[in-house]
Amino acid sequence: MKRETRVRYYRFLNGEMTQAELALRVKVSRQTVVAIEKGDYSPSVWLAIRLSRVLGAKVEELFLLKEDLS
């Protein structure tokens, strides 16, 4: 099941941060960032928190539930 994420949007809000730079800062591979942005992989709560801190957004702003989209 695909998930809606706004990681890419917040990455661009942060000075067009590259996937590689984000991956380096949250200590994962670039492919993992790609998978998260595409909605192919749901990160653990710990990685989600690290992402939210680096991108300056709340976890629920990065990862949206279906009901939030309607």
Binding site: K27, V28, S29, Q31, T32, A35, Y41, P43, S44, L47
Partner: protein
């Protein structure tokens, strides 16, 4: 330890294998299979941190599919040999079937449902298999009753563990130790190393592990609830 170090370890292993193949015998190349152990062993023991959480979950998923593939192949081999061409299989084939099944179901019971389920599962499964196997082999005779004592020696303490886990666990453990002594005495009658390993896997180890699990469960339960259960 990062990927670079792990790759160096792998490279050293490859060089050792090539050296052995060159100076000893070419069949030593089979040792190249050892490469599959380094990554999982070093990761699971926490020594190596070369993958992130997504890659690790992919490794686990790949391992699961690998396990299922192995089981399908083994299923075909066992059905073909035992049911179609009526051919006995060597102990190593039974080892290939039993060890992954025990590890998989044992790990899931332990982590997923706790020590009690692990102990009861092992005890009832192996006790039941031993009892049914001996009864089906010899029918309902005095001989089968004597031989099925092995199964009952596992089944009764397991059943007792439902109410008294520490006592049942202790008796299961003692039964396992007894079986271990039996096997040590029968060492010279065993047909090769694989039969020895197989017999240890199906006779003393299950009741020993079940006994320890149930005893530990019983000890923890008493401390947590403050109830006297023995």
């Amino acid at each position: 330890m990062k990927t670079g170090v792990l790759n160096i370890v792998r490279l050293i292993w490859i060089l050792i294998v090539l050296f052995l193949a060159a100076v000893w015998r070419v069949e030593a190349l089979i040792l190249i299979f050892g490469l599959v152990f380094f990554g999982p062993l070093l990761r699971e023991t926490g020594i190596c941190h070369d993958v992130d959480e997504r890659q690790q979950s992919l490794h686990w998923k790949a391992g699961y599919y690998g396990f299922m593939s192995l089981m399908i192949v083994l299923f075909a081999v066992f059905v073909w040999n035992l049911l179609i061409v009526h051919k006995e299989l060597k102990p190593e084939w039974w080892l290939l079937l039993i060890v992954p099944l025990i590890v998989r179901s044992g790990f899931y019971s332990w982590k997923g449902t706790g020590l009690r389920r692990l102990g009861l599962g092992l005890g009832f499964t192996f006790g039941g298999i031993w009892t049914v196997f001996t009864l089906l082999s010899h029918g309902f005779s005095t001989e089968s009753l004597i031989e099925s004592a092995v199964g009952f020696a596992i089944l009764f303490p397991t059943a007792a563990s439902i109410r008294w886990p520490r006592i049942g666990g202790l008796f299961l453990f003692l039964a396992g130790i007894g079986f271990a002594f039996m096997l040590i005495h029968a060492w010279d009658r065993m047909n090769g190393i694989f039969q020895i390993i197989l017999m240890w896997c199906i006779l003393p180890l299950p009741p020993i592990i079940a006994g320890i699990s149930l005893f530990r469960y019983g000890a923890n339960w008493r401390e947590e609830d403050g109830k006297k259960i023995t």
